[in-house]
């Protein structure tokens, strides 16, 4: 694929590099993982010696003829400037330039330069490897360690178009395509109306959007991408479900209850993103900084959490978020945000009774020079335990995620992530989990990165026959391309 087709004669040298270093190894010990990781890091470092190419220019960077790193700490994580750009509806912070920048004049016509709106992201693990105690069929192979390595590239392809149609009117459409499953889904699609009343007083979003985008730690922009869980077998409606492998979604954002179902009886994964920390919900929300840069508010109404999972949707869900920022000088910025999300009849238990599932969250982030540290903590509460599961159900769950990224060279990013999930839900199914993840990501160009990552299960020693406990560790290596 020649991306140059989209941007003829433009100063871009971003030709996708699909060559992937594939290493298939079966790991039986953590030390082997570390050795392999360091070998891989060495391989990555050799790429360092290649002369640096010109900066990559994905959609918004193309539009403003600038550098990815104006807005990102490590794509797709946003820095303070990028966050304000997002808040301002894809207009420069402090500027209402949606009607002027990126427009081409042909006589009387003021046309949009489409190449400056379209971009895509391709991300996938070339290699995934993990070990777990085999559970299936139940009892037959209990305690036998199975190691598995899979080639799963590419995993996800996202096509997005975003920008402004006029002054203070922005839009974003994001088509997600899980490769291998076929079909595409609108992950996000919304219109923004910005600077209503006065500059930065109120910005309105309407459509299908990510409610958490303005929080200190935005779910969809996390550095270490999710790895889905693996169910033990087919799970009939409103019946318990067991897992071979837990998901590695950041625990603060994941669903945390075992034994919840959507209205069709499908089991809700305890590792899926949901409620406020969801990638896509349909509704309307408003945010703004009416008192200056230090304070951001956000309120919204959406159809309901887990909409994509099948919300019972008897009432709308509402949420509010406040965020405090410090961003002045010394290459330093910090923010802290808190939110309350009130879920209305957004799940069912096996007796098919509705639950109101609420979430309270705190997140914080600080960046100093090349170091970026962020954390989120959330508490999920089911206020009234349905009578049918009384005594069998833990109605409180918490999740904690801490992450840190740092550049060790101009092109090499090292990330650490810690996740702790204290699950709630049906006591018989409930399993908690703690993971620590390490990732090295090397940007061959500003928009093409290869990565290697390993996750370690910190609760491994407990043994037992539940997925969270018996997942030994997981190793991933792959590529991340953004155009």
């Amino acid at each position: 694929m020649r991306v140059q087709l989209w941007m003829p004669h433009w100063p871009v040298k971003c030709v996708p590099d699909y060559s992937i270093g594939t290493v298939a190894t079966v790991f039986t010990r953590v030390s082997i993982v570390i050795v392999t990781l360091s070998i891989l890091c060495g391989t990555l470092l050799t790429f360092l010696l290649a002369p640096e190419e010109a900066q990559a220019i994905p959609a918004f960077a193309r539009k403003y003829n600038t550098n990815c790193m104006d807005c990102h700490t490590a794509p797709p994580m946003l820095n303070a400037f990028g966050q304000r750009f997002l808040e301002n509806g894809y207009q420069l912070p402090g500027v209402e330039d949606g009607g002027s920048t990126g427009k081409k004049k042909f006589g009387d016509l003021n046309l949009d330069d489409v190449s400056e709106y379209v971009g895509f992201r391709l991300v996938g693990n070339a290699v995934s490897s993990w070990g777990f105690n085999k559970q299936n069929p139940a009892g037959a192979d209990a305690g036998v360690v199975e190691n598995k390595t899979e080639f799963t590239f590419p995993r996800n392809f996202v096509l997005f178009a975003g920008g402004t149609v006029a002054k203070n009117i922005g839009f974003m459409v994001e088509l997600g395509h899980p490769v291998g499953e076929g079909g595409a889904e609108v992950e996000r699609g919304f219109v923004t109306f910005n600077n209503l009343g006065s500059h930065n007083l109120a910005h309105l979003r309407v459509g299908k959007f990510d409610p958490n985008a303005f929080s200190s730690y935005a779910t969809v922009r996390q550095q270490l991408s999710d790895v889905g869980e693996s169910q033990k077998g087919g799970c009939p409606p409103f019946s318990p479900c067991a897992f071979n492998r837990v998901g590695l979604a950041p625990s603060a954002f994941a669903t945390k209850f075992y034994g919840l179902y959507d209205r069709s009886g499908n089991y809700l994964s305890p590792f899926a993103s949901s409620l406020y920390n969801s990638g896509h919900e349909t509704g309307v929300d408003v945010h703004g900084r009416p008192f200056g840069d230090w304070f951001l508010y956000q309120v919204g109404v959406v159809n309901g959490a887990n909409e994509h999972l099948g919300d019972s949707n008897k009432g709308k869900d509402v949420y509010g978020m406040v965020r405090f920022d410090y961003a002045k000088s010394n290459y330093f910025s910090a923010s802290m945000s808190g939110f309350v999300y009130q879920g209305n009849s957004n799940a069912k238990v096996w007796t098919q009774e509705d639950v109101n599932w609420n979430r309270y969250g705190l997140s914080a982030r600080a960046t100093y020079q090349m170091v970026d540290v962020y954390a989120a903590y959330s508490v999920d509460k089911i206020n009234k335990t349905p009578t049918g599961v009384a005594g069998l159900f833990d109605s409180t769950a918490t999740g904690l995620t801490i992450g840190a990224d740092t550049y060790v060279t101009s092109q090499t990013l090292v990330s650490l992530r810690y996740d702790n999930l204290d699950a709630g839900g049906m006591l018989a199914q409930r399993t908690s989990a703690s993971f620590i993840g390490v990732q090295a990501k090397h940007f061959l160009r500003a928009n093409v990165a290869i990565f290697a990552r390993s996750d370690f299960n910190l609760r491994q020693s407990e043994g037992g026959d539940t997925a969270a406990r018996n997942l030994r560790n997981a190793f991933f290596s792959g590529i991340d391309v953004i155009f």
């Binding site: 409180t396 918490t398 740092t406 650490l416 702790n420």
Partner: protein, 315 residues
């Protein structure tokens, strides 16, 4: 409400599991990553207002910090003839050291002395040139330390007497130009002093292109191309401070100019001698700069007349 204590208990329980990752993250953040080149590349925020010698502290080359030491208070005033008869500037006819002080007066106090270095003197380093061998040669010998074997006097050090507190500078525009001559891929002279406002004259004697990039306080004071056979450059020195002179196409070319906004400075002779006249009476701080040895400082009580002898030694 009943859930609250339970939540609190859970949160406390989490503390242990949180402590581990925080420690790991802490380690990651404190490791050598933070010690990176930033600290040396950031501009000195007080630099613009501080006296020149303080700026020199911040800008002195690598080893400087190692040699910085607490100030000693000055020796007593001595009669000029007693120990250093040859150094008394006020005595006519004797061998006045050929210092480059821009200011001299027959009356008033004079500060004289020597800068000494008794440590080991490394042999000259031969560096591979790899650029324009016809003009630059194949190798180049660099001598960082110029020490007189007999007297241990240190050459090419620069001595500056700071103004007394509250004293206004005697703003004299020095007529002596600061010359930078590009010759055989070296800057001549290697170290020189000048007063602010003096003219800097840049010549290129080589039959190839150089550039003369003068950097003060992390910003460009002057960066001029010197094409072969081109015109010499004449500009006024507008900023005081340590001027790093570089040629970007011959990275081995490097020199320093020390520019002061008062006339109380002197560059040491080959035997390490200096002399500074015209300083007002009172307590002054003397600072010494050397390219590789760094800074020395000493407080000196200057009398209304006579000569103060100040010897400083790099140890």
């Amino acid at each position: 409400m009943a859930g609250c204590p339970a939540m609190l208990g859970q949160a406390l329980g989490r503390l242990l599991s949180i402590a581990v990752p925080i420690a790991i993250i802490g380690l990651a953040c404190w490791s050598p990553l933070l010690a990176a080149p930033q600290s040396s590349t950031e501009p000195d925020e007080t630099g613009r207002k501080a006296p020149v010698s303080q700026q020199l502290h911040g800008l002195a080359p690598g080893p400087a910090a190692k040699f910085r030491r607490p100030r000693e208070v000055s020796p007593s005033v001595v009669e000029p003839q007693a120990e250093f008869p040859g150094l008394a500037v006020s005595q006519p006819g004797n061998e006045t050291p050929p210092t480059r002080s821009a200011f001299s007066e027959s009356t008033g106090p004079v500060i004289v002395g020597r800068i000494l270095y008794r440590g080991p003197v490394p042999a000259p380093v031969q560096i591979q040139v790899n650029r324009d061998p016809d003009v630059c040669g194949l190798t180049m010998s660099t001598t960082a330390l110029s020490v007189d074997a007999a007297t241990q006097g240190l050459g090419n050090a620069v001595v500056h007497v700071e103004l007394a507190v509250g004293e206004a500078s005697a703003r004299i525009v020095a007529e002596n130009p600061a010359v930078v001559r590009n010759k055989e891929c070296r800057f001549h002279p290697h170290i020189a002093v000048a007063q602010m406002g003096a003219e800097v004259q840049i010549f290129n004697d080589d039959p190839l292109m150089h550039n003369t990039n003068i950097i003060v306080d992390n910003s460009t004071a002057l960066n001029v191309a010197m094409v072969a056979g081109g015109n010499p450059i004449k500009k006024r020195l507008k900023k005081a401070g340590l001027h790093l002179v570089k040629c970007n196409v011959h990275k081995f070319m490097q020199a320093y100019r020390l520019v002061f906004d008062d006339p109380y400075f002197s560059q040491t002779t080959e035997t390490g001698q200096f002399s500074i006249a015209g300083v007002s009476p009172g307590l002054h701080r003397i600072s010494v700069w050397h390219e590789t040895l760094g800074m020395l400082e000493k407080d000196v009580q200057v009398p209304t007349r006579g000569t103060v002898v100040v010897d400083l030694e790099y140890k």
